[in-house]
Every structure is written in structure tokens, then in C-alpha cells.
């Protein structure tokens, strides 16, 4: 049997959870105040994921960079692969909110999308 203490990051509540995993791999989660906590605990202890937010260079835009996010959470160990993949990107203005700037970013199967519209200079 394994035990873990962790803080749920599913929402700003930040529930302190206690997780036990028995020999059969069955999870028992306490301390969570909503089902997201249990889901988070299982994911966090088996395959942790994070949504990555950063910036991508814009060419000829009113701003030099556009804020971006991965359209969904990516495996935690892939975070730096994702930002490194963004390093080589540059998109021409205008950029639309929600525009896909890179498909399957760093082989995560997740797209990179703009989180703000940027007009031309």
C-alpha cells in the first residue's frame, strides 16, 4: 500500500488530499471537496499533466508576441519540449483569438493556440 499527500490544483480551492493506493492499484482519495479532486489525484500520481502557457513571436504585429496555450494539458515531462518548440515559431499578423499556431506541438498530440487577437502594426 502506498500513501501520498497532495494539494489539488484543479481549482483555486487547493484541497489537501490524502491518497492511498492499495496492492490492486485501487485509489482511495480523502480531503477532496469535489469529484475533480479524485480525478486529479489519479492523473497526478499516474501521468501528471499541465496546460502550458507562453508567448510566440509575431511578425508585423501591433505586439511583438502573442500569448498562447496548449489547447489541452500535456504530459508534465513534456513542458520544456513544448516551450522549446515554441522558440522556433514566428507567426505573421494578424493573429486571431483561438487560431491554431502549431499542430501537434512537440509530438504531444495537442495543438498550440493563440489566446489573444493581435492586429497588424
Amino acid at each position: 500500500m502506498k500513501e501520498h499527500d497532495l494539494i489539488c490544483i484543479g481549482c483555486p480551492m487547493g484541497c489537501n488530499m490524502h491518497v492511498t493506493i492499495d496492492e490492486e492499484g485501487v485509489f482511495t482519495v480523502t480531503g477532496n471537496t469535489c469529484p475533480n479532486g479524485e480525478r486529479y489525484a489519479k492523473t497526478e500520481l499516474t501521468k501528471p499533466q499541465r496546460q502550458v502557457t507562453s508567448t510566440v513571436r509575431v511578425l508585423g504585429g501591433a505586439l511583438d508576441v502573442v500569448p498562447v496555450k496548449t489547447a489541452a494539458p500535456v504530459p508534465k515531462e513534456k513542458i520544456f519540449d513544448c516551450v522549446r518548440a515554441m522558440k522556433g515559431l514566428a507567426v505573421p499578423a494578424p493573429v486571431d483569438l483561438g487560431q491554431v499556431l502549431s499542430e501537434n506541438l512537440a509530438d504531444t498530440g495537442v495543438d498550440l493556440i493563440a489566446t489573444k487577437a493581435v492586429g497588424r502594426k
Binding site: 494539494i7 513542458i79 489573444k116
Partner: protein, 416 residues
């Protein structure tokens, strides 16, 4: 110029107040925004985590702002950007300036203050040492990195574990800087727990509680800082110094509501929040002048800013459409043991809505405690809490039925 409602500030508070005022029947609602775009500080908060309460999904700052900007547009809210308000008079005439119009005055039926807040600077923290380049408030660094695409440093120490500092620890790391440590004067963090996990723990950045910066080195650019442990009186303990070689010190040591206009206008301000004192309709001591968002008190989540601002917008609309409602004897809200302040400061049971949200912050970390609310001797609430912390805002919702016809003090306390 004349309008029904002028809203000063087009950030999350101003936008939500404007939309709500229109929905409540105000026909002419005008936002005056000093920067070039609406959305306020959300435009530089490009991380996710906004909107979980409001939209039941996780948005970034610019996305959250975009939704409200769209709503304001659809609601027919007028907005003037690049327009700085210079003064507000008690008869609610608002003087502003812009490139196109020069100096101009808008006569308003009601005014909503939504100017937001600012960061506490180094001077207020009295950090000793030299004054080289490379010392920034976390929000300044955020603007450089997220809006201008430029890095303000390579090796970073952060003083203060406020949310912007924690967020910037991650942002700087993801953009290629090395964040050496976050030092926090208090024995607890001023930020949200999820930010400590996601922004520090994920990247192996140490959080040094009960530590502060005792020296800054470097003549032209920061070359290093010295961090030391503090005792329970928050005084540095000699012999506990840790030297960091770094080129940057970020400060995330608290936010202060930006109340120059309110101060000049003569609004009564709370010494605890630095924001105006307001009644149940979020109206300041000046009739017809309302306040919401971080100019009123610093919030933890933008979702609550929107909610509060909607209440202010509706109240301002009611004020212009129906005039001042007859006032009764208000209940005075008292922040007792463990509670630092409450918003509002007074509730008039005769004028309140069916429910009244009271927001407050605590002054310390309390575990397994109760949030207690008393009306005179009568205990109205006794809410069990696993933990309350200064970094997170608390709220209690009171019902008209339990306050109606009552007078005296409403006391808020942390117990047990």
C-alpha cells in the same frame, strides 16, 4: 457631455460593472480606460486558471478579458480608451483627458470606481542595499516577458510569495531564466496553494518561508542578493544569511488599491484595505459613487471581481433609474478576531437585496476553525473551515430575512 453612468477603468471590474448596469436598465454607460485597450491587467496575465467559477472552464487572462469585452460590446457599452481621468467631483462630474478630445468633462448620474490596484514598491519594504537596475515588481517583469517578449533577467530571486511572484517564477523559468528561490517574510505564503504547487514545486524552486532580502549588491545591474531567516518579530537573524548570485530581484509583496481619485474626491477610505468604505450597494461615502474590484479591496480571483462588479453595476443603475432609496439605520460590520476587514462596511437591511455577500480576509493561517457571524449576541453563522489563509478571500452570504428590522453590529470572527 452627459451620460447615466461613468465607469473609471476598463479592466475586469469595469467591464463587468458596465455589462451589469446595462442589463439592469441603464441606457448610457461609458467606460473611461487609460490604456490603449480594454481588459486591464488581465492582458498581461497570460497564464491559465481564470474563469473556473464564472465560466466553468479554465481560461487565460486575455481570454477571460475577451469574453467580457465581447459582452460589453453586445450590451452596447461605450468605451473610450487612451483616456485618463483627472478628477471626479462629488456632484459626479468626471474630468478626463485624451489625445482626441483634450481635457473634457462628463456629467454622470452615477460613477463606478474600478481603477484596480498597484504593487507595493521596494521603498515601502525598506530593503537595504544598492539601487542598481534589475529590481522589478513582479508585475513589471510580467509586462516585459508577456507583452513585450523581452526578458528582464537571467538569474532571478523573488521576494514575496504573492500570486504574481509565484506565476512569474514559472513564467521566467519557462522562458529560459533560472529562478533560484522565492523568499517569503511571513511563515506562510500570500499566494494560492495551486500556484505554489504548479509554479514552484513543479520546477523545483525552493520557497523559503520566514526569509527576507537583507542586502542587494551591484552598482549598475544587480549582481547578487543576500537572504536571511527572520525571527518571530520578522527581524533578520544574523548568521542565517544565504548569498545568491543573480542579476534580478523580483518583488511580489502585496498589492495596494489605487485610490488617488477616490482620495481627492473625498471618499472615506479604510486604513486596512486602502480602498473606499462602502455600504451594501458598494456605494462609497459619496452618494452615487460606487466602487468594485481591486480598487475596493484586493481580490484573489478575478471571478469574484466580476461578481462584485456586477453588483456595483446593478446598484449604480438602480441609483440613476430610481434615485437614492430611503435609508434606514444600517448595521455596522465589525471585523473581530482574526478577520482583517469586511466589504461592505455597513448593511442597511431595508435596502439590501434578498441576499448580501460579505467578503473578507483573515490576518493569519487558521486550521480547523470556524467563521462566526454575530448580530449582537445572536450567532448567525458558524461555518466550519479546514483552513483559512491571508492569501485567499473568504465570503459569507447573509439573507434579508435574518437581518430585516435589526440594528446594531454584525461581527465577523474566526473562532476555535
Amino acid at each position: 457631455m452627459k451620460t447615466q453612468i461613468v465607469i473609471i477603468g476598463g479592466g475586469p471590474a469595469g467591464l463587468a460593472a458596465a455589462v451589469s448596469a446595462r442589463k439592469a436598465g441603464a441606457e448610457k454607460v461609458l467606460i473611461l480606460e487609460r490604456s490603449g485597450e480594454l481588459g486591464g491587467i488581465l492582458n498581461q496575465c497570460i497564464h491559465n486558471g481564470f474563469g473556473l467559477h464564472r465560466f466553468k472552464e479554465e481560461l487565460t487572462g486575455p481570454e477571460y478579458a475577451a469574453r467580457f469585452i465581447q459582452m460589453a460590446k453586445e450590451a452596447g457599452v461605450e468605451a473610450m480608451t487612451n483616456t485618463t481621468v483627472i478628477s471626479v467631483s462629488p456632484d459626479r462630474s468626471v474630468t478626463a483627458m485624451s489625445r482626441e478630445k483634450g481635457v473634457f468633462t462628463v456629467e454622470a448620474g452615477a460613477v463606478i470606481l474600478a481603477m484596480g490596484c498597484r504593487e507595493r514598491p521596494r521603498g515601502a519594504l525598506r530593503i537595504p542595499g544598492l539601487r542598481p537596475a534589475g529590481i522589478y515588481s513582479a508585475g513589471t517583469a510580467q509586462k516585459f516577458v508577456n507583452v513585450l517578449g523581452r526578458m528582464p533577467g537571467k538569474r532571478v530571486v523573488i521576494l514575496g510569495s504573492g500570486d504574481i511572484g509565484l506565476i512569474m517564477a514559472r513564467r521566467m523559468t519557462l522562458e529560459g531564466a533560472k529562478v533560484l528561490a522565492v523568499a517569503e517574510l511571513m511563515p506562510y505564503s500570500g499566494g494560492l496553494k495551486r500556484n505554489i504547487v504548479q509554479c514552484l514545486d513543479d520546477y523545483g524552486i525552493p520557497l523559503l518561508l520566514s526569509h527576507t532580502v537583507v542586502d542587494i549588491r551591484g552598482k549598475e545591474r544587480v549582481e547578487g542578493v543576500t537572504v536571511a531567516r527572520v525571527d518571530d518579530k520578522l527581524k533578520p537573524i544574523p548568521g542565517t544569511e544565504i548569498e545568491y548570485d543573480c542579476d534580478t530581484l523580483l518583488l511580489s509583496c502585496g498589492l495596494i488599491p489605487e485610490n488617488e481619485l477616490s482620495y481627492d474626491l473625498g471618499c472615506e477610505l479604510s486604513p486596512v484595505t486602502s480602498g473606499p468604505r462602502v455600504n451594501e450597494r458598494l456605494e462609497t461615502s459619496i452618494p452615487g459613487v460606487f466602487a468594485c474590484g481591486n480598487v475596493l479591496h484586493v481580490h484573489d480571483l478575478v471571478d469574484y471581481v466580476s461578481e462584485e462588479a456586477e453588483a456595483a453595476g446593478a446598484a449604480a443603475a438602480a441609483f440613476v433609474l430610481q434615485g437614492e432609496l430611503p435609508a434606514g439605520e444600517p448595521l455596522r460590520l465589525v471585523a473581530a478576531s482574526g478577520v482583517r476587514y469586511t466589504v461592505p462596511s455597513t448593511i442597511d437591511p431595508g435596502r439590501m437585496g434578498e441576499t448580501q455577500t460579505v467578503r473578507f480576509r483573515v490576518g493569519n493561517v487558521y486550521k480547523d476553525c470556524r467563521v462566526a457571524v454575530y448580530l449582537g449576541e445572536e450567532r448567525l453563522r458558524y461555518i466550519k473551515k479546514r483552513i483559512v489563509t491571508p492569501g485567499e478571500m473568504e465570503q459569507v452570504i447573509l439573507k434579508k430575512s435574518e437581518l430585516s428590522g435589526k440594528t446594531g453590529e454584525l461581527r465577523f470572527a474566526i473562532e476555535g
